[in-house]
Symmetry: none
Subunit: 203 residues, 4 copies
DNA sequence: TATGAATGAGGGTTCATTCAT
DNA sequence: CATGAATGAACCCTCATTCAT
């Protein structure tokens, strides 16, 4: 399996670094190769083409994050707590790797439609995770019975995403994680949690 | 004023149509010219360069939308009603011009950072509009006193944007405007409106 | 006759000024038209095409100079005096119109082969003038009997031309006309005048 | 070093040939590449841009000529002999490579001011060589004590240059080298050599 | 496995010239 | 005579990918 060889991750990390520093359109394959310390041709021993580097980058970084976060979330008791953990972990992951944050929030979005469709495939796992939290919240009465899960998921993901993008655009001048609790409260309210008890944020 | 000559809008409309059909990276100037029924060189009598077409496109379509919607919203009495009108008009505008929806939600986001910064300038007017609604809602007690306007704005814009993008990605298989009221309800709840009275959506 | 209409010279003068200021490749027809205070299309009522402006420019400025200098030179008695007058007038003409000097010595030489062939046609009158001086000098014993007129002419024209070009390249930091007498002496020597009497420069 | 790889000279030679045949403005990069037997992109592995090909061409051909001729001239005893060698070598070099003659005398002069300034840099070495010959001739009494070196150099270079250009313009109908001795005699006279002894051309 | 020299397709923009008014 | 909006051909350069070593 090529993915297990050291140069595989070496190239992906080089891609993140080069794209974050120079932007998507300045991230030539030769530049990534140089940063990774390999020859241009070597890239093609590990990746089908340039697009494949970017997809793999997203899969490795986001895919592995989703896999990692899933069991941790499963350990929490209430949907509210799960949602808070989701938001906070999301913010923490991107705060801790600002290059990755720039790449996923700004640069990778300049890619063509095809690539973005494939990125969406990876995100589906994340959407499913959100849906499960919402479903649980509906079923155990934490959230409104009439909650439309698809719309609520768009609200949650859209809000998180817009929040991170704004933070990046403001050159990360503030601590992203300080927003976890207020954003959580907003979203809980949105889901109808505020009507039947104390805010879960206060838990 | 060049903007008043008929070919100006003719070229912008051609750009929307060509980009929607072929994608951002396939939208060669010569293709846009052909679609507009003018010579390649004529483009440069009306626009500084290719990027200028795209900026102008966004300014004309979104900028004029913002200007148009502003007084209509001002006519509404409550913040909740204003928010509903904002959402519903946003959805309606993009439903009525699906090419424009594709261009603004998917294609224009592939542009370089510079262009996107200029697009953000145009969007600032929209953000300000949202902020005003939120401020009004806070002041007249419709929304929670503790509402963080910046975060609430990110929630509102992020949710609307994500909802439209999902609709586009699903090839517009459903009516976007049917989502106006449920999205409105979600967002109102998020703003803390549900805690102190009947949902404004029911107004 | 188009040449008698005021706009004809107006356009030529505008061309000299625009080319001197901005260089040959920046001298677009529209720029010349603007400088001349006429519409682009008007240029084509007076000139066949852009090249025709440049040829006419050279014909008018250099051709008229040659016609003017010819009778003055004819009035001088010795070949040596005639040569001095030729050199000094040449330097004076270009000193007095530095724009023209820049255009003829530097900018017009960037034109294509065809244009330069036509310029050479105009210069033939000048070459003939030099040849006549040389022939007279040979016949009356001022110059060497063995002088090759063609080569001597190349020396004279080449020296004058190189001297003016060097002066232009040095940004006209010195008075070109101070070189008339020493250059004259060099060239007289070259023609074998120094062997049979006092320097003609001292006449 | 890129200059040592065979394709470097291959491309330069192709450029000379293409420019000589089709003219400066018709010498597209793709045409030069084709003539050199390489792909368009390969040009850019050896040269920064198109202008760089032309500068390099001049440096390689004229620069290397100047370096080569310098020690040979140093071996001659008198300034007169040195001058003859300079003229004759100059004529020989261009006679032996008529494409190069066309390119340097006619085509390269159509280039923009910037390129011509760089060409002048290369020529400065040549001017220095002429100056050294003149200085030596003045000091050892071969040339007139009152000789102005700068003006004499302009005469020498101007005469040689004009002679070659006339030869090119006449489509090389005669042997350029037959002019070496008579031109030499003209220039020696010009430098005041004829006044104090037998012509060095007769040596 | 690894290299890196070589490939070649593809597009934004300028500007001399025209022609309907 | 005069205008100036419209035309459209023409070209340099980049960079993802290949393949001989």
């Amino acid at each position: 399996m090529k993915k297990n060889r050291p140069k595989y991750m070496q190239i992906i990390d080089a891609a993140v670094s080069v794209i974050a520093e120079n932007g998507y359109h300045q991230a030539q394959v030769s530049r990534i190769a140089k940063q990774a310390g390999v020859a241009d041709g070597t890239i093609y021993l590990y990746f089908k083409n340039k697009e494949d580097i970017l997809i793999s980058l997203f899969e490795e970084k986001m895919g592995s994050y989703i896999e990692k976060i899933e069991p941790v979330i499963a350990g929490k008791e209430s949907a509210a707590e799960k949602l808070l953990l989701l938001i906070d972990s999301h913010f923490r992951m991107l705060s801790e790797d600002r290059d990755l944050a720039i790449v996923t929030q700004l640069e990778l979005r300049q890619s063509n439609k095809e690539l973005r469709l494939k990125i969406n495939e990876v995100l589906k796992g994340y959407m499913k995770l959100i849906d499960e939290i919402l479903l649980e919240g509906k079923q155990n009465g934490e959230f409104s019975r009439s909650l439309d899960i698809r719309l609520a998921r768009q609200m949650i993901f859209g809000t998180i995403d817009e929040t991170v993008t704004t933070w990046i655009m403001n050159e990360q001048k503030y601590e992203l994680n300080t927003l976890s609790i207020p954003i959580h409260e907003l979203l809980l309210n949105g889901c109808g949690a505020g009507t039947s008890g104390p805010s879960a944020s206060q838990v």
